[in-house]
Amino acid sequence: MSIELLAAPLIDLPQRWMAALLAIIALTLVMTFAVMFATYYERKVVARMQQRLGPMRTGPYGIMQAFADTVKLVAKEDLRPATADPVAFELAVFAIFVPAFIALVAVPFTEDWIISPMPLSLLFLLAVSGLSFIGFLMAGWGSDSKYALLGGMRAAAQLISYEIPLILAMIGIVMVTSSVNVGDIIIFQDKVPLIVWQPLGFLIFLTASVAELERQPFDIPTGESEVAGGVFIEYSGIRWSMFQLTSYVNMYVFALLGAFVFLGGWEWPFGRDIGWGYQLFLTLAKMSLFIVFYLWSRTSFPRLRVDQLMSYAWKVLIPFALLQIFLNGLVLVYDLPDIVLLITSGAAALAMVALVYRAVRVTPRVPLKMVSNTMPARSVV
Amino acid sequence: MAEGEDEQPTPTPHASGASAPPPTPEEAQAEQAQDAGKSTAAGEPSPAFDTAAGGGGRKSDSTGPPTVAPEAAAAAKAAAPKPARPAKEAEAKEAPRIAPPAGSVNELLAAALPGVAMQAYLVPALRGEEVAVEVGRDDIPAVLTAARDDPRLELTYLRCLSGIDWQEGGLEVVYHLLSMNHGHQLTVKTRVTYDDPVVPSATSIFPAADWHERETRDMFGIVFDGHLNLVPLLLPEDMTDHFPLRKDNPLQEIDEWQGENLRDGAGEGDE
């Protein structure tokens, strides 16, 4: 009823707009609950990996924890530093929040569940998800805090740098499928998911998406032990929770994108005639794989340093992404069999992993010396 | 037994144990009980409060502690096979100074610095294992430089730098030096007066002295001449005129309601 009242002035608009509006409202609500579930799920999974129990007190097995957190965050006082720039400080939240939700407009959850089917949906997704750095810059500058400023600068540098390998990896996909529509890309994978033909691209996408999400080991903009939250340091209450909400929505978006583009979405392995229920299940299951990977990397990797982060993007990911494009081009131009793509791309992926493995061990380190009698050894020193 | 070195007459009322032969521990315990009984019976202030300031304020000899020959030390050692119970009048004193045996580190230092007057003695006093050298404060840079650079000394490691407030004896700065190559150590001491508490800084010789000197400046007001950044370290930045570890800042007296005081004489504390 409330939705009808809300929609009453718009009743004259075309039916399509009404449907889109309702879909967006539904989506926002669904995503909010999905994010609440994600926070609970993350806490439980991370706790499991760290030999803890995680939330246990709010409801059975702590399932009400996310609701309690929401109530607490919404009820908390929304503070703004006296010296902060009011416009930048308050608008920064929306500059991050809105693009994350807009991106969902182009996401095909099943074959039919899509708010706005558009022919360039992959391009739209990448373009919209790349907008959030403006919000980070605004928040970092507007907070009038040095930590926030550092965090904002780090966020801008990181997001822009990792946008490039991400987009290059997607260009490889577009070359193979000759489509920039996510739906078409999914349908392309009815036999074999694209991860088989593009392992290097998948690896690059996986790494770059972690960086885009600012999760460990790329959580440099918000590094708790360095900049103590970075751009979020001055935010509290509802605004802070909107930042968190956004970061989880982004996580869903990238996980969905990975599931559609590399794992075959709702198409592979059963084809598209299995009904929307199974399609949705497949989508969510494949998305969960990515999400578990994000959580897993969070518990097992320390954080990179800024210069290492930058050199990783520019010296490793971007050249290898270009290599993937080059390989795709070779196969397309000379009409080579697909298996060549698998072999060359797989070899390049292994080479990238080996390169990183070697990079930290490039100078052999002298191991510890075990001294059982210290005195003569010291005289030598 | 510590009585061997006690030349000073006692200023405390509990003189009974002072000139007695070394008591066995059993006797000592009995004596303690007697002491406690006496003090309560005679209405004296409780021993706990008596010693609260570590004997601060009592008169001590102004000529400095006596130096005792090594034989005396040996005799003292021989006479004290058991845990010693020093007499109470020792409270107002510094430790006796026993010259180190031949071949100690201080001789190397003296050989390296022939012109510097230094007084060497063993620490701890009775069963000394380490050597302390007391020098004039103007000689500190020379002594520390020689200690660090002389190839036979190589005292390159400054373990600790501390200050002591000796009240009438002035303020003392103590440097604990260590040679990792030779495995020996040396304690260098110097004294300054309250009126002129300036000691040359050791930071140019031992960078490790930096924070130690700032801390000693905080706590004792000893100014280290030549220190580049002698601002308060542990204390608030504006607290430059008050030196907490000096003995003229006594702590508030503590009611001791635990341990031996509770057992020996329950009523002692509140008299």
Partner: protein, 383 residues
């Protein structure tokens, strides 16, 4: 925008020449990675640290002054509170000083129990380092929970022995406060098993992790000469290539009886400090193993212990190898049952004084790692 975010300068800057300012960043006293109430003012140009000014003293409690008013028994409890991660080491240093001044011979059994507990305490302290250091390096708490699991087991043993989980106050001048529990040996064997597994877990988690290696190697390097000149001690000194361990070089208690090896690094960087601590934990297990084999029966305090602890006048500098380095107790007595002057040479204080030299020129993120690699205890720094 206010002037503060632009910088401190009020000079009129020409339009086409943007003003470049080095930002002073105030890290602490409330900051997740300062390990307590510690503050450092970092001057950064971008991400590079140009200057560091450490500020300490927030937790200064005048411990040395307080100890002048405490008798030799009460001082033991205060030593705990100063070094609250290596309490047994702190207690041991203190009681050793008093014992040397009073010339008390400690019974064999008490010596062995002291060594066992002190080495277990070294384990628990290094576990704390491993956990906290993982967080400093950006790991989301995994090393912390793993390390704290082991620490809990160790603390259970300490609690059974001393009755307290944090402030043990179990050593006494002359021996121990009371006899250990009947199943002490089995309990220590149990906890050694879990600790060995815990050490291996942390080793697997961190040591060969590429990002961890990339973050730790070649930052905060100190040469042996620098380390000695700056008065560093403990694992940091040994990581710089100086084989100096007081347990070997100036054996106190009964450490000369045990066979163990001292790990010595080569580069003096943060990674070597981590490796030295990891190896030290294994060596501690070896020491405990031998001490448990040799643990004799017998009294835990000397037969002829004076009831009142009174020292002859004199001074003594007692030192022990605490997990953080050389914990020295400089005790000056004028006779009587209280110290006349009591200086605690705390390893955290001396190591921290080299922070500035180590940090300048490094990245901001490395400043956190370097501070973490020192494994400071702020109560110990401020005393």
């Amino acid at each position: 925008m206010t002037a503060r975010a632009k910088g401190t300068s009020s000079v009129v800057v020409e339009q086409d020449a943007p003003e470049i300012v080095d930002i002073p960043i105030n890290m602490g006293p409330q900051h997740p990675s300062t390990h307590g109430v510690f503050r450092m003012v970092l001057v950064v140009s971008g991400e590079k640290v140009l200057d560091v000014t450490p500020h300490i003293g927030y937790m200064h409690r005048g411990g040395e002054k307080l100890m002048e008013a405490m008798d030799f028994r009460q001082g033991i409890g205060y030593a705990d509170r100063t070094e609250y991660l290596a309490q047994f080491s702190a207690e041991l240093g203190y009681v050793l000083a008093v014992e040397r001044l009073m010339e008390i011979e400690v019974p064999e059994r008490a010596q062995y129990v002291r060594v066992i507990l002190t080495e277990l305490n070294r384990l628990s302290s290094h576990f704390m380092f491993m956990g906290a250091f993982g967080i400093d390096s950006g790991l989301f708490g995994t090393s912390f929970t793993y390390a704290f699991r082991e620490r809990e087991y160790l603390q259970d043993v300490f609690e059974e022995v001393s009755g307290d989980r944090l402030m043990y106050a179990y050593f006494r001048v002359g021996g121990l406060a009371w006899e250990v529990t009947d199943n002490f040996v089995e309990r220590v064997h149990d906890v050694m098993k879990t600790s060995a597994k815990g050490i291996q877990d942390l080793d697997d988690l961190l040591t060969r992790n590429e990002i961890f290696m990339a973050r730790c190697q070649n930052i905060g390097s100190f040469s042996a000469q620098q380390a000695i000149a700056n008065g560093l001690s403990g694992p940091i000194l040994r990581a710089s290539g100086v084989p100096w361990d007081l347990r070997k070089d100036e054996p106190y208690s009964i450490y000369e009886r045990f066979r163990f090896e001292v790990p010595v690094g080569h580069y003096g960087d943060v990674y070597d400090r981590y490796l030295v601590r990891l190896e030290e934990m294994r060596q501690s297990l070896a020491i405990i193993e031998q001490a448990l084999e040799g643990l004799p029966e017998g009294p835990i305090v000397p037969d002829k212990m004076p009831r009142r602890l009174r020292t002859p006048p004199g001074e003594v500098y007692a030192k022990v190898e605490s997990p953080r380095g050389e914990w020295g107790v400089y005790l000056v007595s004028k006779g009587g049952d209280k110290p006349y002057r009591m200086k605690m040479r705390s390893p955290s204080f001396c190591n921290l004084s080299a922070l500035r030299e180590m940090t300048i020129g490094q990245y901001l993120a490395d400043a956190v790692m370097i501070l973490g690699s020192m494994d400071i205890v702020l109560c110990d720094v401020d005393r």
